[in-house]
Subunit: 154 residues, 2 copies
């Protein structure tokens, strides 16, 4: 769950992607050569031929470009999501406290949180109170805001 693990994962995926594109492009060139020599044998003028190449490779480029951008934003999201666990540990937030935080952010009352986690209201209050100290806030609404800033909840 460390940054290095995810980074190497992303690198592997990118190498695969580039390979795929490379093979695809080579295939396209081969296809063009094949068409040129086997079927039309110079029936097309050089201009037309170049036009076809330009259109085809523009299309390939558009596809690659959109893929790359989508992948980039997906990586960004992955990195954002990863920041969570680190932050939680760094702030010393315990497992139970985090569960309470999530339910607070969902808008549950202390009573509802207690029912959902099978603990008493005083216990919920203890957890939330400790949580607020660790998040350096006074109220649960602030805790929601803060936790979202720190990306420990969505």
């Amino acid at each position: 769950m460390t940054g290095k693990t995810i980074n190497s994962f992303v690198k592997k995926r990118n190498i695969l992607l580039i390979l795929t594109y490379g093979v695809g492009m080579a295939g396209l060139i081969f296809l063009l050569k094949f068409i040129e020599y086997k079927y039309f044998i110079r029936d097309f003028t050089t201009e037309m031929y170049i036009g076809i190449v330009a259109i085809l490779f523009t299309a390939v480029g558009v596809w690659v470009g959109s893929k790359l951008v989508k992948r980039k934003s997906a990586e960004k999201r992955a990195i954002d999501f990863e920041a969570d666990a680190e932050q939680i540990k760094q702030l010393g937030i315990s497992r139970r406290e985090f569960e309470v935080l999530e339910l607070i952010a969902k808008g549950l009352s202390n009573k509802e949180i207690g029912e959902k986690l099978f603990i008493s209201i005083p216990t919920v209050k203890t957890h939330s109170s400790n949580l607020f100290v660790k998040l350096d806030v006074q109220r649960r609404t602030q805790a929601i805001q803060r936790a979202r800033e720190l990306k420990i909840i969505s």
Copy 2:
């Protein structure tokens, strides 16, 4: 601020975009022709020439593709943002109630909201209470959650 206004705006932008790309491509083709006839005059083999065309147009395509995707997501965001005003009116949320909602979401207490808006605590309570009815919630934490779902706040 209506949907139609934004849609026509977006259409205009897209037409401009396509024109720009078209002119750019035409310019590239012209440049290639220019190079072909004025400088190299068949010094390059057809294969090399096609290779250059393929690489250039792939690059153009990648650029166009990424631009298109970025524009698409930007439009999506604009549409999401527009949904706000509509929803707010549909729910009958008043200007002042919305201001209170925003400050609640920022984690402010009723007292702090009152100070910021220069109104008394009872007034803040009146607004928030009416707001909760319109959002169909019981607590301010739920209101935050609900308002985010409805995209009337970020």
